[in-house]
Symmetry: C2
């Protein structure tokens, strides 16, 4: 039985998304049990089933708008997020799912779960929608503002193992997000990173990929430092949001448009669904001894269920042990530098 810890009070919807998400997951996957960290009084009325479900009570939650993650994690030891992560650290659960505030999750992973011995950095690695409907991985989406070439290299090896399981591909190709496709493009750090990735025998290095191709990617994993990755992801999200808004405005701007919009309703919903990565899962925190998946703060029940499935697949395939083995083989796991 795979035991998954769920931060039940995280996210914009709190228990209204996490508990129904857990119910959906329990129904779909017979090999999991879920521990809900959260307010018993709020959780219990939402349970449609008590099979393989347990509750560890707390009514404290970290606010979604929390601006001081380090302080929050250090002081709110009885918050649902910290308790779920602590359970992961203590092997009371095999993996953790949260919809809590991203930077608090990252800091919590750092301070509570702690990285795998020998790994130098952890990275935030979301699934990204893609034109061909096959999602991709992108890292680092913002766990570290700066990363050295050797950090990106060890994360690339780790992400390669994870991509095999999460994307279900053999020998996933890894592209370096950069301002040009040719070798020698970018800052000094990008040129050096290109060199180390090229020489890393444990990965299938594709070369540079420009952010033009971020949603129509020629490779399975896109890697860069946490500042650039965060800037790219936020540019993509912002563009998608504004374009959807503009499109909606245009449709509602005329009577003919409204009729057209009605006829297109199904197509537009399918389009929206294609752009929505919560359908496939959440952002993984890579470099930890257990799977931790952070689903979008505005996730509904189905998004939570997908994140639970993602953790379950990572546990059942033993992906982290495999990644560590690959890192050791490549000698890219060493001492903390």
């Amino acid at each position: 039985m795979i035991k998954i810890g769920l931060d039940a009070l995280g996210g914009d919807l709190g228990v209204n998304a996490t508990v129904p998400g857990a119910m959906e997951a329990i129904k779909e996957m017979k090999d999991i049990e879920i521990v809900l960290y959260g307010d018993e009084a709020k959780i219990k009325p939402l349970l449609t089933n008590s099979e393989r479900i347990s509750i560890v009570h707390t009514d404290k939650a970290i606010d979604m708008g929390e601006h001081d993650p380090v302080k929050a994690i250090r002081t709110m030891k009885d918050s649902s997020l910290v308790m779920a992560l602590k359970a992961g650290k203590d092997h009371e659960v095999d993996g953790v799912v949260t919809t809590g505030p991203t930077q608090c999750v990252v800091v919590g992973c750092h301070l509570i779960v702690r990285k795998i011995e020998g790994m130098q950095r952890i990275a935030l690695c979301p699934l990204i929608a893609n034109y061909d409907n096959k999602p991709r991985l992108l890292l680092d989406a913002g766990a570290n503002v700066e990363l050295k070439p050797e950090h990106i290299n060890e994360l690339a090896t780790f992400a390669s193992s994870v991509a095999e399981v999460v994307l279900d591909v053999k020998s996933p190709s890894i592209g370096l997000l950069n301002i040009g496709t040719e070798e020698g493009k970018g800052r000094e750090v990008d040129k050096e990173t290109y060199e180390v990735l090229k020489n890393n025998k444990n990965i299938n290095f594709y070369g540079n990929v420009e952010p033009f191709a971020i949603l129509n990617s020629p490779c399975h994993v896109l890697i860069t430092d946490g500042f650039s990755g965060n800037m790219c992801i936020k540019s993509v999200e912002g563009t998608a949001k504004v374009m959807s808004k503009m499109l909606k405005d245009e449709i509602y701007s005329s009577f003919k448009g409204k009729i057209g919009g009605l006829l297109l309703k199904k197509n537009l919903n399918r389009f929206k669904k294609k752009m929505d990565t919560s359908e496939v899962g959440g952002a993984m925190v890579l470099g930890l001894p257990i799977p931790v998946v952070k689903a979008h703060g505005n996730s509904e029940a189905h998004g939570v269920m997908c994140a639970i499935r993602q953790v379950r697949n990572m546990v059942s395939s033993d992906v982290i042990a495999k990644a560590i083995l690959k890192l050791k083989k490549g000698d890219s796991i060493g001492e903390d530098k």
Copy 2:
């Protein structure tokens, strides 16, 4: 009379866009004359008017796919781009418009036009579409892979003067593109840049802006280094392209969708036009003693005309002299460091 040099052989469409664009501009603006650098035999048949038009003949063009800009600019002295820039440098024309390959334009500006004495860097500064239909400026979109805080500071002062004219706003607000909105976010360089921008009395500093807001910006100018700016712009362009493609696919995927699409045709065209910044102009190269505007490589006649109008407005408002004055006043123009 304002004299504008036009690289007639640049862009994907060459003379088929540049010459009709020049014709449109001559008709609209009575205070300009245009010098076309290009192939006389190809240009002449396309002239509908010879008023205020002259041709400087060359049949050499720098290829749009040129991979070695420095070599191209150094060796192809008789190319239409180099000749137009040289005419700008020698004050034979008051400003230059080109649809040539971006990196060749940047290198040509560096090596031929040369930056204003005392300016430390030049920057590529495109107009960006915005949700409210009022375009914004973004820099550096890729002239420098790395910029120090003092470089960004002098460019911010320069861009502030330019934005007053090009966007027609008083005291334009300048935002630092960053991974978080609070002070203290980002890499060391971003934190330092925040400090110097905050203390720059010659600009109206807004604070940090996340790339979420890149197309729905709370301020008039978005500034960052050339690597980050390029990554953001390419993420935006890539997302817009894939979303448009997905939308089109969805519309054509069913009969009802096609009918809906037909009814929405006008609305979708308006939507497309909103996203299209070539309607308002091209990317300026800032930090030069003359206006140089690089319109999109795939510009059609109207895009070329808009870029010509942009150069004409910059010349007639004497914006560069004003920007230099502001820089000197702020003591942020000094020696080449």
